[in-house]
Amino acid sequence: MTSNVLAPPTTPESPIGWMRRNLFSSVVSSLVTLLLGALLVWLSMNVAQWALTEARWEVVTRNLRLFLMGQYPGDQAWRLWTSLLVLSLLAGVSAAVFGHTTRVLAVSVSAFQVLLAAIMAASPVGPLITIGMLANAVLVWAAMIVGLRLGVPRRALMVAWLLSIPATWVLVAGVGLAPFPSVSSNLWGGLLLTMLLALVGIVLSFPIGVLLALGRRSALPAIRVVSTAYIELVRGVPLVTILFMADVMLPFFLPGEVRIDRVARAMGGITLFSAAYVAENVRGGLQAIPSGQVEAAQALGLRGWQTNLFIVLPQALRSVIPANVGLFISLLKDTTLVAIIGLAELLGIGQAVLAQPDSLGAHLEVFAFVGLVFFVLCYAMSQASYRLEAAMGVGKR
């Protein structure tokens, strides 16, 4: 075979040809196009008219601070800025080091910050805040460029990510000492609480889920039965019932002197809930490992835990990353359910804002803003997961 085979010649299609093929290929198709086109134009004109002339966007801009960080004390806000700074920095460097999918995520982080800055510019939070948010968006790109030049080792970056988790916790929640006085979780709210619930949920549920998945495939009947029972039990009930249990029933199950605050209880409920779903995702990955891998490990004299840790898990976990991104998206959306038990995450803050006397009736404005925030975050992650899936060739190997 010669390698210089030419691709078949393609003639660039004229716009009219494209339209004839894709919009007016038959009588029915033409009718559908005209009908949908008219509907679309009518709808966009109505939406544009409402958004530009009627909507009371000041309800959102006036309460922007509440939407972003709830009642978090203003003189401690620098701690949130610091953690945001760390996130931007790490996202940028990761995009340089890991490439591909992380780049999509980093670009989305930056784009999201630009979006927030744009909303801030229209709100009375002041130019300094707006510029700070824009600076963060630029920082992502700067970190990416520096990362590409310097060549940060992968391992150092992984360690940095792992360290960033406790560091964020110290920054946001505080340790009760001088630079970081404790900030009660009652004061957390809005986007901050939404992100914390989702991040804590996924980070903590991951190891539990992996253990449950291994337990479900264990050769030991007792462990298998316990793991399977837990997974099926949790997957069979709605998240609100678990949140309700964590909120109302947990105090009944703990000794009288133990008091856990409400946010931590909600985090516990979300973690235990998503652990079962992580377990099922990981089990899918474990099942896809050909048995020859395990047999080879045994032939080499590896022990059971060594086989799992060095041979099976690295391959299985790699192949379930896209599924876990999907899980994270639904987890992020599901954090809105804590509004039902009365916590003020983004949607809960929205309801609180709507109860203000001068915000009455501004439902659509508030919901549009909350919806936009969720859409941008979830859409970016789902695009990243599609790319990752394609890059890894899941289902092809």
Partner: protein, 395 residues
Amino acid sequence: MTDRPAGQRHQARVPPWRDIRVLRVVVQVVALLAVGLGVGFLATNLASNMSERGLSFGYGFLDQRAGFEIGESPVSYSANDSYGQAFTVGILNTLFVSIVGIALATMLGIVVGVARLSPNWLLARIAAGYVEVIRNTPLLLQLFVIYFVVLVQLPPVRESIALGDSVFLNQRGLFVPAPLRSPTFMTWLGIVIGAIVLVMVIRALARRSGATWRDLPLGLIGLLLAAAVAVVAWIALPEAPLQFDLPVAGRFNFTGGLALSTAFTAILLGLVLYTAGFIAEVVRGGIQAVRRGQVEAARALGLSERDTLRLVIFPQAMRIIVPPLTSQYLNLTKNSSLAIAVGYPDLFKVGTTMANQTGQPVPVIAMVMGTYLVISLATSLLMNLYNRRVQVEER
């Protein structure tokens, strides 16, 4: 071990802490002990906490008077009925909204999924946009939008939006004619079921016989025949088997007819629109997974467009679609617990009311979770049976 082959007898005995058989037992006993101790710890706390508050764990309250009204119920219920009856109403409402929701979401999902594959670019893009918006925003937010932005702002009763003189839409909900059974209903139903059974038997026999007429679209012909029988019987019977009770505008509200409250409409609409977005993706994935060669082969064999879809694409796509479809049905059922956000009295809402009133959250929520679990397990069992039917037996 005495029954070892002779060649191995000289080996030293494995010490018990390295003997895999001993270790297996020890690990399991330790694991069970840990779980047992954890559960025991929680149970002791529960017992002591409850006795401290003067409560006793039990279901005696189920026979007591509930004392709260439930907005809507498929069976008659009043505040004087027991907690047990209130709970049953909650279960029935959850089942009702889930079953109707599953049926409608499947239909809409198939339509949107097929639309995404349409050769018409505009239609495909609009379907894709719908799917992305629905899948990337929280269901609770969508419910709020449907309830507070769309339904609550409908006109009041006097200015109802009317569709003909039998369907009305206003702030109070959707009012449609209610079917009423007349004395001849059972006779009519018997005749129709008999006709359908007869058609199915003939179809099964024809398939087995190998006669040439078995290739006729027997399903369609049979359906038409059964429908004809139904219509003839409807006219021939002395009294129409179903009569319709029309909603009549009263002073403040409608009387008669079937009233679907705003809360029900909101949760149903929310569940259907949300789940349809996910089902659309499942359907699209299933259809796209059918290899292109299959379609080309069907064309080469001279199958019509309809037969290609019916005999080649559909059976193969079903195999891929059914398992993820099952989990979407389960999700819909579980998501119906969000009905509490719009005030529809489903299982979870009735359960929380009961938990507050009786001061017994633990047994009540255990009952609620148990019921959801049973519904989930029953659904996956049914779908697994169906799945087994559509799967190909591998050689």
